[in-house]
């Protein structure tokens, strides 16, 4: 039974990591949003499994929050934004999908090498969750760096936060109030992003963030 518990937890956490890679591989916006929703669902399942095996009922709330907010609300809102702005094109990438995936593999190797020796003697599922969580965080950051499209950078940020939640779960969970405030701040951040995307689009007729570079003023007379 212990083996099965470990295996299912390993499956779910590994699934989240694989979905991060699939996010990097994707180059169409709607597919990317769907994969992100899938990652949120995988996160919810992983947290719920932790709740069952560690008998920590407050993690069920975390799982529910992740599922509802990041599995349904945010992807639906992003789909609406994409439809309203008419961005149905491909995502422009700074470096191609192939080299990005190679860098991603290097980041995964790095996270494993960093985390595993440090947390010796801890419950193996928690160790794995931490290693995978760090990898998901780094991959989320990689996604933010290598994408030109504002919507895909938002998705990268959200996926990074998924990794943070996974890490927190692995470390015996956060107090509920912290969990709620983190979730709320993410929601506020998301709303701000959404507003900004609309403003950028209005102003520059594109959501390609490199267009912003041309309009950066030379700040010489200010502190």
């Amino acid at each position: 039974m212990a083996n099965l518990a470990f295996d299912i937890g390993h499956l779910l956490a590994g699934g989240m990591l694989v979905l991060s890679f699939v996010l990097i591989y994707q180059d169409r916006i709607t597919a990317m949003l769907n994969v992100f929703a899938m990652q949120a669902v995988a996160l919810a399942l992983a947290v719920a499994w932790q709740a069952i095996t560690h008998h920590a009922p407050h993690l069920f709330v975390t799982a529910a929050v992740a599922l509802v907010v990041k599995g349904f609300v945010i992807p639906a809102a992003l789909h609406r934004i994409v439809r309203r702005l008419g961005i149905h094109r491909e995502i422009e990438q700074v470096i191609g999908g192939g080299p990005t995936m190679l860098v991603g593999l290097g980041l995964v190797a790095l996270s494993i090498m960093l985390v595993l020796p440090v947390v010796e003697g801890v419950d193996p599922l928690a160790r794995e969750d931490l290693a995978f969580a760090l990898a998901v965080i780094l991959l989320g950051l990689l996604m933010m760096i290598t994408r030109r499209n504002a919507v895909s950078q938002i998705v990268g940020f959200m996926s990074l936060e998924n990794g943070l939640v996974l890490a927190a779960t692995g470390a015996k969970g956060m107090p509920l109030v912290v969990e709620f405030s983190v979730a709320f701040s993410i929601l506020i951040a998301f709303i701000v992003f959404g507003v900004f995307v609309f403003r950028i689009r209005e102003r520059f007729d594109t959501v390609d963030v490199s267009a912003l570079d041309a309009f950066r003023g030379e700040r010489q007379e200010q502190l």
Partner: protein
């Protein structure tokens, strides 16, 4: 005894080199020089084989030449015996090939004296048992090969190739000198026996290994020290190119093995990480460079770089396993590396001989001007094909056996305790698989564009078959490739004493295995049987042929090319070497080489031809040597001021130097 025979052969080679200085102008010089070289190499080969397979003791022979306090030590132990076999096999073949090829030599006075001297130098390096003899022989080997590289110094690019070769060779010797100096210690114990007995500390060992990597690695062709190789190897005459690629690089590998496995003791595990990283980079970059070439000999030279990378992967793995006291695994990795040493010297020499035959027959090295040679030079084409198949690691030939052994060594790596090594070795394995596939692509290109298709120039249409002696040598080497592929157990058993001495363990006796398969670790764990696979291939091929003969019609008709109904009589519309490499160039080359392709299409109605231009940047030149050369030139330019000072200023300089030294002495006190 065997040492004495080896030295006697070296003496013969030096004697005929001296003789050649005198008689090189005469026509009879070529057969004499090459004949004597061949005989000397065969005798040395025989004695080395005898030592490797039979005898056990290896006494040191001390001659009273060289440094007065040291003398010159020579010794033929198992490792030296193996490398002497490799060197003299290549030497004998090259001498025999030279008998046929050398008749067309335009400048015999510049080639004939140096060829036997070069062979003598290589033999001496392997026989040397103390640092001084080693370094002197190493330099002698470099200088004689330099002389051979610049033999045709008026041909474009050869002079520059010789210059770069000389610079890199001097740099390599300097690194080795420093390495031996560190090993010898402040007492100056230059004999190898003394170095073995002294146990240097971990830092010293690491520095010595780094210097050896620089020194021996630059001669072998490790990236980024490989830049001289593709310039120098093609510039020399073909049999010398075969010797340089096939044998001299292996002598450099010998130098590395001698220091890293024998003299330095037990280096730390992280040194193997560096070796593995460099080796993996060398492997992939070498084959990618080779794919971009359309000069046949330069392609082969770059490909040597890839194979040296494969050998160093095996060596790096052996170092890693040895540092973790997994001797059985180190034995496997070392066997793989040494097997590849033998394999590469055989098939690379074979390929260079074939390229030499093509060069003699057509006068062309550029593949874009060749084609269709399989009809004009059928036997050369057949042996070249076996060489291509062997180097692409295709069963049942010998290239596959050494690659298989290397992969088996890589698959043991999860048992290594260090996490860094555990992560790096699968990456190295993936890069090795990538380079094996790219090597196959490279040789499909080389063989396909040169020998298959339709002739692209007048020279290719009128080529003639190579002379019988050269053909005999090529057929013999193709036979060796084949035999080593289907009976690899015997080679592995012959390597056992070398591996035992260096790694501390050896593989199970292969000739005792059932059906003559090779079993590197244990029965039931992994095994490969080349003989059975070859027999099965033969049987299924024959069965198919018989079935087709019995049940299918045998009607055959010759007709024009189909080409989807649009046959083009112009031979320029068939695939050329750069078009064949284009997909790989686009996929891999854009990042590695910053390849820029430019198509200049004329407007409709304009009669001028379209132009296609590909620019490939060598990252080693661009990022390492270019800036270095500019820095050196710039500093030299600035320091040039010192040439034009007045006498008073010179005196001031001398005076200040003296004062500074006196101050230092005072402060020390």
């Amino acid at each position: 005894m065997a040492t004495f025979v080896g030295l006697w052969c070296v003496a013969q080679l030096l004697a005929v080199a001296a003789l050649a200085v005198v008689i090189a102008g005469y026509r009879v010089a070529t057969p004499i020089v090459y004949g004597v070289s061949f005989a000397a190499c065969v005798v040395a080969l025989g004695s080395a084989l005898f030592q490797l397979l039979g005898a056990s003791s290896a006494p040191t022979l001390v001659l009273p030449i060289g440094l007065p306090t040291l003398g010159a030590h020579f010794r033929l132990d198992a490792l030296s015996a193996f490398f002497l076999v490799v060197a003299n096999l290549g030497g004998a073949a090259a001498s025999l090939y030279g008998l046929g090829y050398g008749r067309h030599e335009a400048a015999p006075r510049r080639v004939l004296p140096f060829f036997p001297a070069y062979l003598a130098g290589m033999n001496l390096v392997v026989l040397a048992d103390d640092a001084f003899t080693f370094l002197v022989s190493w330099e002698f080997m470099s200088l004689t090969s330099w002389a051979l590289v610049v033999a045709h110094h008026r041909v474009g690019g050869n002079a520059r190739a010789g210059y770069i070769y000389l610079v890199m060779a001097s740099f390599g010797t300097l690194s080795l000198l420093l390495a031996f100096g560190l090993l010898a210690g402040p007492q100056g114990a230059y004999a190898f026996d003394a170095m073995r007995a002294a146990h240097p500390g971990a830092t010293t060992a690491a520095i010595v290994l780094g210097l050896t990597l620089l020194g021996a690695g630059s001669k072998a062709g490790l990236v980024p020290l490989h830049v001289w190789l593709p310039l120098a190897h093609p510039a020399a005459p073909s049999h010398v190119s075969a010797l340089m690629s096939g044998v001299m690089t292996k002598i450099a590998v010998y130098g590395f093995i001698r220091i890293a496995f024998d003299l330095v003791g037990e280096p730390a595990w992280w040194t193997s990480l560096i070796v593995l990283a460099l080796a993996a980079a060398t492997t992939v970059l070498g084959v990618l460079y080779a794919l971009m070439q359309h000069d046949l000999k330069r392609l082969l030279a770059y490909h040597t770089v890839e194979n040296i990378g494969i050998i160093y992967i095996g060596l790096g793995l052996a170092m890693a396993f040895r540092a973790d006291h997994m001797e059985w695994a180190a034995a496997l990795a070392l066997t793989a590396a040494l097997f590849h040493v033998l394999n590469h010297s055989v098939f690379k020499s074979l390929l260079f001989f074939g390229a030499g035959a093509v060069l003699t027959a057509t006068g062309e090295r550029d593949m874009e001007h060749l084609g269709g040679l399989i009809h004009r030079m059928p036997r050369t084409a057949a042996t070249f094909l076996i060489g291509c198949a062997a180097i692409s690691a295709l069963p049942p030939l010998n290239g596959f056996v050494s690659e298989w052994l290397t992969f088996q060594a890589i698959l043991i790596s999860p048992q290594l305790p260090q996490l860094g090594l555990k992560m790096m070795v699968p990456a190295v394995g993936a890069l090795l698989a990538l380079s094996a596939a790219l090597a196959a692509a490279c040789f499909v290109k080389a063989f396909g564009v040169t020998f298959l298709g339709r002739p692209r120039s007048r020279a290719a249409e009128t080529a003639r078959e190579a002379d019988p002696i050269s053909l005999a040598v090529m057929i013999a080497f193709a036979g060796i490739c084949f035999v080593a592929g289907i009976l690899p157990g015997f080679v592995i058993d012959a390597l056992a004493p070398v591996v035992k001495a260096l790694a501390g363990a050896q593989l199970p006796r292969q000739s005792a295995m059932s059906w003559l398969s090779i079993v590197p670790i244990a029965e039931g764990r992994s095994s490969y049987n080349g003989l059975i696979i070859f027999t099965f291939l033969l049987m299924s091929g024959t069965l198919t042929a018989m079935f087709i003969h019995r049940f299918a019609t045998r009607a055959t008709r010759r007709s024009a090319i189909w080409d989807c109904g649009y046959p083009d009589p112009s031979t320029a519309t068939q695939y050329s070497s750069s078009s064949f490499a284009m997909p790989i160039r686009r996929v891999f080359g854009t990042t590695v080489f910053q390849v820029q392709e430019k198509v200049d299409m004329p407007a409709p109605g304009d009669n001028r031809p379209a132009r296609f231009q590909v620019r490939v940047f060598d990252p080693a030149w661009r990022f390492a040597y270019g800036p270095l050369a500019r820095f050196v030139a710039g500093t030299a330019g600035r320091l040039n001021v010192l040439q034009f000072l007045t006498i008073r200023r010179y005196l001031t300089l001398t005076f200040s130097a003296l004062i500074v030294l006196l101050l230092v002495v005072a402060a020390w006190r």
